[in-house]
Symmetry: C2
């Protein structure tokens, strides 16, 4: 039996922190792991800004409610789920992803969790595990599943390597150049073609 | 992050082979692992009957198309998927489950696969792996997930034992007596209450 593992942001939905930065006008929230390479440091920086501005979880969720899946992502996941099995592997937080998951008809999502105080203040994060995408694919393989994985960024590379087959989706040129072994798709139709070739192989 | 693992037949949908026996009038297809303990032997017996009667995959799928999820199962899984993550672990076959999965809005399903010839004859089966429910729960735990599992029968016991918490759903009295450590739910509401207690623990 086959399983498709997909990254979330950049593949099915917009980059959530970028969208929050744009909608709140807080440009400082645009920084990513490309700017601050240490993830814990980056998250502490982000949570510090939220605290300073008095932004609660609900405020961010209200911003995320206004977002839509990427063009074509709804039909893409609908088709995938008819033809195979899908689990989304993401570094985002379940509380952020929820509004977008509803718009994709609730695919299964494994991700991280925000620690939230009773007043709605985000106090910290709980990672599912380190290098969680790779370990998830390895665990899926241990279940006797044939795994196809796709993502758009550096944090997807170990997942792509661990899968039986991997594919980039709209990767930056730098990633394309660094990992030429993985084909890249520019549209969901191209990605679906790659997945269908895998399913019948 | 939490994951709910559910058995399929008897928990969310009717017993598929029993339904096929009733709808086709082939009483011989009612036999289960309680009658023929060796699973391979049971499946060969079933496939022999299908061959003798000239029954193809499409004929069985047409029968399954007429089935509905158990009363309450639709709302139950909808609520579960809003509040947590769900993967269905079943010993059935993806080709049998598909029509019922559509009626449950396509939850993720890990199960076995039928080998089907180009003319639609079912020639054999491909198991995902032996003791696949237990191994799946163990693999999910290795992903850093807290796992709740529920099922109705003997083939669910190792899955319940492997999970952080397990619960029977409408188990036969014999199983209740043999494994008193696991609570049993008689309704989806009771099962949902058990799951919610687990989620907030």
């Amino acid at each position: 039996m086959e399983l498709i593992c997909l990254d979330l942001e950049g593949v099915l939905v917009p980059e959530i922190w970028i969208a929050v930065a744009e909608k709140t006008g807080l440009e400082e929230l645009r920084l990513t792991t490309r700017d601050i390479s240490d993830y814990d440091e980056l998250m502490n920086y982000r949570l510090g800004i939220l605290d300073r501005e008095g932004i609660l979880l609900k405020d961010i969720q209200n911003v995320i409610e206004t977002l839509e899946p990427l063009d074509g992502a709804y039909d893409f996941t609908k088709t995938l789920r008819e033809e195979s099995q899908l689990v989304i592997l993401s570094d985002t937080f379940s509380q952020f992803a929820a509004p977008l998951m509803r718009k994709l008809e609730m695919p299964t999502l494994f991700c991280n969790t925000l620690l939230v105080e009773s007043n709605g203040r985000i106090s910290g994060i709980r990672l599912r595990q380190n290098d969680g995408k790779r370990k998830a694919v390895e665990a899926f393989r241990s279940m006797g599943l044939r795994v196809f994985a796709a993502g758009d960024s550096y944090n997807d590379v170990t997942m792509l390597k661990a899968a039986h087959q991997g594919m980039f989706f709209r990767p930056p040129q730098s990633i394309r150049d660094e990992f030429p072994a993985f084909p890249g798709a520019e549209t969901h139709d191209e990605l679906l073609s790659g997945i269908r070739s895998f399913l019948i192989a």
